[in-house]
Amino acid sequence: MERFIADLVKQFEGGAVDRREFCQTVALAAAVYAAGDAANAQPGTGFKVLGVNHLSYSCPDYTKARDFYTSVFGLENAPGKDTGKRTNLMFGPPPGKGGSFLVARNATPSDRPAARAVVDHICLTLSNWNEERVRGTMKAKGHEISGGRDGSLHVLDPFNYDVQFANIVEEDAFRRGQ
């Protein structure tokens, strides 16, 4: 706790947190500490990420995205979640057990300042990769491979968003540079 407070003071002195935030933080940290879960209040330890919960995908017509991702990559339209303006497309483990979903939604105006970062593409892992089958399936569905190499391919979705799909051999963080 001492180190935590010292770090917080340092942030305060440097202007990283204002007085109000400083006070709130100390109070909250004290409450957490009293509850016996001090580890969660330690700065720098961070959270344990289990996975991507969802990707929020905003486009001119969510139905086109829905149809593409369900037919090409086998995502499942979550029952009861298709509102006519958005839907949840599930994949991976079951919901609540580590599964992910893509929220396909019609774009709406936002008052948020524009971010200076962008997610320029996503990559999906396909299990039981078979090069001929993967390429053949894409061709049969009328989708042109837009780039990549064996085991790691790209396709543009209906809104020209870059989607990569790959196997574990070609796309594994721990094999980078090998």
Partner: protein, 193 residues
Amino acid sequence: MEGFVAQKLNEFATGKISRRRLIETLTLAATSAYAAGSASAQSESPLKAQLINHVSYTCPNFKEAADWYSKVFNLEQVGPTARDVALPFGKKGEQPYGVSAKDVPLTHLIIRTPNPNAPPPRGGERPRPAPQAVIDHIGYTIADFNRDRAKAALTAMGVKNLREAGRYSLHMDDPFGYDVQISGLEANALSDG
């Protein structure tokens, strides 16, 4: 299959891939060749996404962003280059949460900075069309998520623009104003929206 094996062998012989990579590639190809048949027979969609492999995130300063994601999500940085670095959601050898298939790697972020000196597209190359879609935010599933505890911890880390989003979720801004959401397993495709 034979053609594929020959191609990989050739790559090994010419030094394009290592011995270890050759073995891994061929092992996977050999084991998936049979599994693929049974998998496609059982599934309506011949291809089925198992998990997010990676998210490619581009920003003005990849080191600053990577340090932020490392701090907030306790992520290791691996394979750094002059322009990017990967942040896997776990340690080497770990299995992705909830996944039983052995050929699905840990999800990771690839955080990049554009290369200002990149050569222009070569003659004849088609310029990539501008996307009309955007991933406007990403939600991450956190172990043992508790909104109030999370809020305290994030505030202590100096995370900006924290916003509550119901009982089971928080939004925040990363260093480049990108919208990041965290929640627990309770927030899922069947409960959200």
